[in-house]
């Protein structure tokens, strides 16, 4: 089936046209839109009209069999890729407060796409769906029930498409090798806000991100894990308000703060400069600690998979991590296999759309049920 993928970043609209006979996009286009805008302006509609004209010129009279729209956060409302109806879009307004810069524009995009490509079904593909079924013990924070309910917080992961594809890669290779058992996968997604997920088969049991992507590994500009006492001290001793603190922790911290200059994770990983050493070491250390936590959650590890836009820069990291895991897993006889997933996000978005909308849609798509095996 032919799929049009649409993905909004904070600065751009990325369009891709995927056809069955090619893994690469038949056509793709990226155009800027106003950064941080809460709603989409006419420019995006204009861009989509242009995309429609472009597609018609590629294949005469063609219309997408499905449109897959990337959704950063579907909350607990969407536990799988879901066709965008008015009811679904209304229901997602509840989640909008958790990602105010992402969800409202994406819902606007879905509405515009439905109008412009009338007749083509529009699917919302949430990154968080993979993590809807995280075990409750992993979801929960050590807060009183009334506080949790008032804030509506629970842990999610935010790179579900990469992690799901990483697990499928491992499962496929194990099946070809005659190993049918569920793999214990440490899936490392190297993106501007990187994330590690520990997955048994296709069921995640642990993830480094939290109620928002701010928690976990340090990002290019975001702080990652932080003592809550520091946030309170900054508020009290420096009289910084919550919004300024959010800007400080989200945009002025992370690897950029450690390196003293705005660099991508890829640049940090490639660099040998002394100036970036602290950033490299802190990132590698936190990632190793997270791998260990993942092994604790899984009882070991069979595979370590790197995905994301910086996966090609992960070789040195992979060597360090796999050597450390061999040393740590003293009771495990099987090695930890290292894999790389080099598929771009839009290809994974197209695949997820095809799985949801295609004739052989997975009956059990999504991880809806969080089942806890007791620890006691």
């Amino acid at each position: 089936m032919n799929v049009l993928t649409l993905r909004l970043t904070s600065r751009a609209l990325c369009c891709g046209w995927y056809v069955p006979e090619l893994r690469e996009p038949r056509w793709q286009h990226t155009s800027s839109w106003e950064p941080g805008a809460a709603v989409l302006g006419d420019s995006v509609a204009t861009q989509l009209f242009a995309a429609r004209r472009m597609l018609s010129s590629i294949v005469s009279g063609s219309a997408p069999d499905a449109i897959g729209i990337h959704l950063r956060h579907g909350g607990e409302v969407l536990d799988r890729p879901t066709r965008a109806s008015e009811d679904v879009l209304d229901a997602l307004k509840v989640v909008a407060a958790q990602a105010p810069l992402h969800i409202p524009p994406t819902l606007g995009l879905a509405r515009i796409a439905s109008q412009i490509f009338a007749g083509s079904p529009v699917w919302l593909v949430p990154e968080t769906a993979f993590f809807c079924g995280l075990p409750v013990r992993e979801q929960i924070y050590g807060l009183a029930g009334e506080t949790r309910r008032a804030l509506g917080v629970r842990r999610f992961g935010y790179h579900g498409l990469y992690h799901e594809a990483a697990c499928d890669l491992v499962i496929g290779q194990r099946i070809r090798a005659g190993n049918q058992g569920p793999a214990r996968v440490l899936s490392v997604c190297l993106e501007p806000q990187s994330e590690l997920a520990a997955v048994r088969g296709r069921q995640p049991v642990m993830v480094t991100s939290g109620a928002t992507p701010l928690e976990g590994l340090p990002g290019e500009t975001s702080c990652g894990e932080l003592d809550p006492g520091i946030v309170l001290n900054l508020a009290r001793d420096f009289s910084i308000g919550p919004e300024q603190l959010d800007a400080l922790l989200s945009r002025q911290s992370g690897l950029r703060a450690l390196a003293g200059q705005p660099l991508s994770l890829g640049q940090i990983l490639r660099s040998t400069s002394r100036n970036t050493r602290l950033a490299r070491e802190v990132f590698a250390y936190r990632l190793l600690a997270a791998c260990g936590a993942g092994c604790g959650a899984l009882g070991g590890a069979d595979a370590l998979v790197f995905s994301g836009r910086y996966a090609r820069q992960a070789e040195e990291l992979a060597t360090q991590l796999s050597e450390a895991l061999v040393c740590a897993l003293q009771g495990q006889t099987e090695p930890v296999c290292v894999h790389y997933l080099h598929e771009p996000l839009d290809r994974l978005l197209a695949d997820a759309t095809i799985r949801a909308a295609g004739p052989r849609a997975r009956a059990s798509a999504g991880n809806a049920a969080g089942v806890d095996g007791g620890l006691l």
Binding site: L151, A211, C223, P242, Y285
Partner: protein, 405 residues
């Protein structure tokens, strides 16, 4: 030299009267369940004059607990001590080692109250009370943060702008260092390994606070607690790890009132907040078949297991996992749940030995376990007394050991 050691936990006040250098114990005890009411009444369990007795008394705060302890010691005719030594949770960036108290030290100590709002204030108040009652008795402060001075930059650095990290000292300090250092030393001795070649994960699981320490070559290389004792494991009334954005959300809802959020995260979260019934994980585990208690136990144990896996990886190859303090020493179910499923790390418990470890220290690992699992009774009081004795008998006492700025 007779030294009275006072050890303020967040919900307990341990005390010990020791004669140094022979390390003869004259009396010891613990005021338990100090602070918020729990399912059982507050009490002092006192051991002295060859007998143990329990005295029930209301102890809403640590100062009251101290007064009750002094009464109990008087009843046993214990002589006044030559030195009072205090465990202080947070030494901040000013105190790198133990120090004798004077007015300047007391003022500098008071400045650290915000860093450990549950622990430092009662201990600081206790230092003041002791000085006013016994101005002629030297007092020594021994800090929980000192052992963690060896945590490397990669582990202690938060990904924050340099001005905050360097000028304002926002870094991981780590806590429970006195206990971790003591039990790690004991464990190395049990396993007949030189401390400099001993890798372990030390699990200090108290009835109030709890932390893990990653130990490589006998030195602390990481701690689950951070800049304050709020970070890390789910604790009695503390939340432990929390998404910074959630803290910001709470601040916004409280219109920027950091004190209110701090009270919530420090005093009404953790086991108490999750269960809604008790701040003591023992109460929760006893009723873990109930939905809310079950959820609380799962959250507490799961974070413990994840950190254990993480630290076993950081110190690899690990020689031992060491459990200590009230929960670590006395609750086999917690040890079993923490170590369960970690056979891949070479950790295997002997279920019979774990259920009844006998006299401590005890090795409760299965015979084939590559990583030994030890239960060691912590003795922070002895460790503190040793440090105080060393400080006061050293010819260069405050200049060397008591360095502070």
């Amino acid at each position: 030299m007779q030294i009275m050691v006072l050890n303020c936990g967040s919900s307990s006040l341990k005390y010990s009267v020791l004669a140094l250098p022979g390390e003869r114990e004259i009396a010891r005890g613990e005021a338990q369940r100090v602070g918020p009411r729990t399912a059982e009444p507050a009490r002092i369990v006192h051991r002295g004059a060859g007998a143990e007795r329990t005295v029930f008394a209301d102890m809403p705060d640590h100062a009251t607990a101290f007064d009750r302890i002094v009464q109990v010691l008087d009843e046993d005719d214990v002589a006044s001590s030559d030195v009072i030594a205090h465990r202080i949770v947070h030494g901040g960036k000013h105190f790198a080692g133990s120090v004798e108290v004077d007015s300047g030290v007391e003022r500098a100590l008071s400045d650290l109250n915000d860093l450990a709002p549950i622990h430092n204030p009662p201990a600081v108040a206790l230092v003041g009370a002791c000085r006013s009652r016994h101005p002629e008795v030297p007092q020594v402060l021994v800090f929980d943060t000192s052992y963690h001075n060896t945590i490397p930059d990669a582990a202690r650095t938060y990904a924050l702008p340099e001005t905050l990290r360097v000028e304002h000292g926002l870094r991981k300090y780590g806590f429970h260092g006195i206990s971790h250092q003591y039990v790690v030393g004991e464990a190395a001795a049990v396993l007949r390994r030189p401390p400099s070649d001993f890798n372990a994960v030390s699990c200090h699981l108290g009835s109030g606070g709890a932390s893990l320490c990653a130990v490589k070559g006998g030195r602390s290389v990481d701690s689950t607690m951070g800049y304050t004792p709020l970070q890390g494991l789910v604790m009695s009334t503390r939340c432990g790890d929390l998404d910074p954005a959630v803290t910001l959300q709470m601040l916004a809802r409280q219109e920027g009132d950091a004190e209110a959020v701090e009270r919530t995260l420090n005093r009404t979260s953790g086991v108490l907040g999750l269960s809604g019934a008790s701040a003591d994980i023992r109460d929760v585990i006893a009723g873990a078949s109930d939905g809310l208690s079950g959820l609380t136990a799962q959250a507490y144990l799961w974070r413990l297991r994840k950190y254990l896996g993480s630290y076993l990886t950081l110190v690899a190859p690990a020689h031992a996992v060491v459990f200590t303090d009230t929960i670590g020493e006395t609750v086999p179910a917690v040890r079993a749940a923490a170590c369960g499923g970690l056979e891949g790390f070479g950790v295997e418990l002997d279920p019979v030995a774990n259920a009844g470890p006998g006299p401590l220290p005890a090795d409760v690992a299965a015979s084939g376990s590559r990583v030994r699992v030890l239960v060691v009774a912590t003795n922070e009081e002895l460790a503190i007394a040793r440090d105080a004795f060393r400080l006061l008998t050293s010819s260069t006492s405050t200049a060397v050991e008591g360095a502070w700025s």
